[in-house]
Chain length 188, copies 6
């Protein structure tokens, strides 16, 4: 009747024209470009990049870390839990629980180890080894969102009133204002 | 048959013994104690405090702010959206979107104004008036969780490796370590 | 690629063009017009009126009641639970459980009291004080629906066969037919 | 480890001991007892009566109607949509939409016809034929709830303040109080 | 504003133009055409055929079986549980649990008996009587999907590599290849 | 108060006693034992094996395949979608759509390629290379279930009436009965 097909609110190609290429992705054997201030790179494949994920509720990421401190900085996913599997190297990984306890759950992970990051909690990974590290992460949403905490707080498109941040972060106003002028790089 | 009743994984009183008192709560006309470093107070009523909320998917909070800077600091709810209505005073309120844009949506709100904080995003309110402020907030979970960002990062029960935080927050190591020894007060 | 954006089946402005005005609403400090047969007024703000509520799963209402009987008549929300907080005055509020018990849970509420109305159950509020009353209600859907029971039964656009109503309501046919010709005002 | 098994908050027999009898039910070929004021009978099989329905999200009912007016009176299901199939006889069946329109959707149904009653809306069926009628209904919850409107309003365990009902239903106080003393029979 | 209405990702007629015909269906008193290799016929009414089912989460089927072996072959519904009620005749019906146990739950059902098929499990019905059989099934999705197992394995539009099937099904390669050239009839 | 804690219907250790060991798992660097009739091995880690996955909605598997035909045979997950990433070797992987089309979507995958298997559809992987293959799969449920089709059909604890299977699978009765006496190995 009409050519417009919508599933889950997304424009969708006519199912008759879908092919295996909508359901596959190549390149997770390739190292990401880690030449940035975090010395890490996240390649997150969501339904926007791989149409066949639409309605499936899952996305996949490859994360590369340079030796000696390459960092996927503290962040959370507003719409997803995560499991992260170390393929190469040695990662210090952890998450923090919500108010009021803010308990840190952290561990040194080696190849073959995986960790679960519960829905919506802040988590991070840092390469504490002397060789590159690689991890694979699966997230329980086809569009989980990523919120890198420091960047959201200090690196917005428009500065939050510095008084909010001096009180909240126990920092001098000049430090806050200096941070707000810096360049904040998202890991992906 | 047996006396143990469970709904939604919670121990539940026998419905025959439920009364109107399980479904009502009093005291949102009373000012909260704001004598703390944030000069604000959040009284969040969840299903743990009001059994009748179990399975209803909603909780309610009264928030008090002292004049000139009383602050509900940047935080998010892992399991809820929120609407916040100003009853008295003048609040600077806002939220920040996720990666990659980190757009700030903020406004000065007066009595009778309300704002929506989308699911899982960092948001805050500060009293920018010269009189006390009061707000009512409704959250879309009977147990939404609260995660005060600065406290989760710097005030955990066990310190995150400082190298994670120096890289992530662009702060000197001695500032990070000083922050990690401070007392961090949750607003509720 | 194309200008049409859909989230949750609703046409959605381009997120790049969203502003803080899509996420805020003003006017809940203003008394509603209660000059009607119920002597009450409900101002329910859903996602249709405030685009930023789309996908958030919450809506907010201000309800005004004239003294001595202003009534929000028995109704239910097909798609939402509710909490209602009294800001001013004295309300007799309650709800009734389903078959077979039809237990009434009701209480006189004063300013600062709130009550939960469980998902889908019939509930009501009446001002039993000598001064105006004001309440704020939060509902767990951005489009919860409202079904005023008497109006649905007797005030439809086309009359239900009166024999259905005489048997169901234990009323004489002439009373049923008289009711079906009356004007039924929805509280909002 | 322990003998207590819970799925979906219900005590559950050890799956190893489940048998086909937990997943089957007999007797929907038997006419129900319709000797009551409604001259109708509903036999609704939920997960409480058939343990195998637990977590399946469906329940099934057989409804019998005496000739010339046997009535399943206006009611709604707080937690379910419904489809109803006529097996024998002639039913006048319909539903009413919510505020503000209260549109009546109704039709005379014969054997082999079915009708959908949308989630949470008031609906009814009456036998308008001269022979008994039988219908089968499927509901989209293993525990959909039933709320017979007139009975909830006038037949609670404790009377709603009559002033609420006189205003809401446009009825004299003496009629309301008389209705509140009557016996209200639920169809099931 | 615009004429395009979407609910649940489906194009939807303007609600003002909806009629009772969108919510009713006729013809479940009519025997289906069972002259096929399975000697059975399934008439499944989903939201595609009956627009009023959109968002209701339910669909309905009439199934006819010829005497002495009319078969609704082993299949499952990727998006639904099912209850099936026998109206006429005698059916052998059952389902099989998942790995590792593959327990068979089966029974001979007569008119008035019903059986639940849990979400996503393989199930079947065969007429083991000497007269035609008729059943009604309700499924917990408006678009539950049907996957006839043998047809999906051997009757796809393009053959699965036969080595997959010889190993998986313990069959000789020539039998597999013969099966892959046959005509496989879906019951509906 | 009491020692019994339940979340999601599972007995749960007191959160105060939870440790990082509940949220991590080791051993996905170890090759599985593939000495079986399928010459493949699946190590699926669900919430039963890793308590921290409870409520997170995700599980993880490592799958090993011997060269030249090691097979994860056609199966589906009643409660989950899946993404599968090849770490080593060359896999022929695919899935089949439901009735009526049964379209095969299949591809040869190499290290670094991944494929999505939509919710509830039959899928498989076979090592078509001359070296061992390894894959990692993430599933969108903490307890997705696995249903190996051939095993469910022919290898149940109690045989399905062979007439059902001869008609459904177009096989001679003696072949069906022979298959029903064989040993069917689940890949995990």
């Amino acid at each position: 009747m009409i050519g417009l097909l919508l599933v889950n609110g997304k424009l969708c190609k006519n199912p008759s024209f879908a092919t295996i290429h909508d359901f596959t992705y190549s390149g997770f054997d390739v190292r990401g470009n880690t030449s940035n201030q975090l010395r890490a790179h996240v390649n997150l494949i969501t339904a926007d990049l791989m149409p066949g994920l639409n309605t499936l509720g899952v996305s996949l990421a490859r994360i590369d870390f340079e030796p000696n401190g390459g960092l996927n900085p503290p962040h959370y996913h507003p719409r997803g839990s995560e499991v992260l599997l170390v393929l190469e190297g040695t990662l210090y990984a952890g998450f923090v629980t919500s108010n009021p306890d803010h308990r840190l759950f952290a561990k040194i992970l080696k190849a073959g180890d995986f960790i679960a990051f519960p829905f919506g909690l802040v988590h991070f990974q840092m390469n504490v080894g002397k060789t590159p590290a690689v991890a694979i992460a699966a997230l329980t949403s086809q569009n989980p969102g990523v919120n890198t905490v420091a960047n959201a707080i200090f690196g917005g498109n428009w500065p939050i009133n510095p008084e909010v941040l001096t009180t909240a972060f126990h920092l001098d106003k000049n430090i806050v204002e200096d941070l707000q002028t810096q360049n904040w790089v998202n890991p992906s």
